[in-house]
Assembly symmetry: C2
Homo-oligomer: 222 residues x 2
Amino acid sequence: MPSAVPRYYEARSRLTELANGIPDGAPFPSERELADLLGMSRTTIRKALDDLVLQGKLIRGAGRQGTVVASRAQTRRLSVTALVNDLVPRRTVSFKHVGDTHDLVHVEWVLHADDDQPIGLKSSYLPAARFRDFVERYDPATPLRRFLRDHYSIRFAETHPWCTTVLATPRVARLLDTRPTTPMMSLAWVSRDTAGVPVERSWTALRGDRTHLTMHIPGGAE
Amino acid sequence: MPSAVPRYYEARSRLTELANGIPDGAPFPSERELADLLGMSRTTIRKALDDLVLQGKLIRGAGRQGTVVASRAQTRRLSVTALVNDLVPRRTVSFKHVGDTHDLVHVEWVLHADDDQPIGLKSSYLPAARFRDFVERYDPATPLRRFLRDHYSIRFAETHPWCTTVLATPRVARLLDTRPTTPMMSLAWVSRDTAGVPVERSWTALRGDRTHLTMHIPGGAE
DNA sequence: CAGTGGTCTAGACCACTCT
DNA sequence: GAGTGGTCTAGACCACTGG
């Protein structure tokens, strides 16, 4: 544990102030300029910038685009219940049988914010034996659980999703147009029918810097 | 966007395999050894190691301690409902009046896993005017909302917590014995009484690599 | 083409901890 | 004292994007 405050902490503070004084969407000084300005190496500046990017304050662009101050209020509020029950994604990534013996159906969606920015990835697995013709019959514009209820008469028991943080894998990062080490929220669950049999297993990765996950706790008792 | 796969991705894959082959708690090779072994610079190795540390697979120790493979199953399942309603933390950090005019009471707890590792920080604010003598009367071993119900006859309406990811601030990192840029889950809520008046505002930061937040979605309808 | 961010190297010094 | 992780530097090359 270092006793003195690292230089990139100081850099981070000063760059945060700097970013706050620059309008949303306006260009941020280049890394080489900042290194010169603060009298630090570009490596140290980059370490400080990494934090601001992870916080969602800055957006780095490729090539001549440079770094830009992020627009505020890009975060989307997303309800856990809606995510599990009746989410309608805008784009389907894949849709096929998987598994060594083709015993699972896999559906994958990219979730978008209102401004069309990709903010998450949802992946669901179903047992193929129980849902014959699923691939042919399913319309991705229908919420998955509603479809299962209406076309396969599934009645769902209560669900217990769990949430944690993960780092974006290279594949997820590519699909969501973000960097491979962006912290993300991971929300996973197993849907069971009223008999307790697993019906669907899903896993969702959400960009932590763009998403607020909302939930519900009943009042009254206790 | 680079076309070729960066070397630290390859390093990360190989180091992940390496870590999986080493027993929990056993020492990991030093960064200089690994740089030599994989034929990469220590900087590149460190970048790969950073990811494994953030994932919770490795733990870095100071001085001669070196890097160590983390023990599995250190993650704690924590229910959102329990966190809001009847959490009993093991240690209280502070407990005082705050605000410019001393109009708020602030209580802060460190949350521990079963093995005494700190995994989170909970911070609650109450209006001092409504809860006179709170500081004198409150016993931190009692769940906050139960105390408010029993001693101030508060009846709570439903609560809507929201969750997102944040980076640990230096202060939080120090309290939780982690590094200042560790990704954490942030869970916040406002408790209201049945009249809709805000009673308590709370904010919880949880180590993402040590915590699974569980929630509940009713079955049946829809 | 010039300038950007992304990656990578080979050094260096420090505070720290174990033996 | 020896070796560790934490920090920092001054360079370098690359793929990419805009004018």
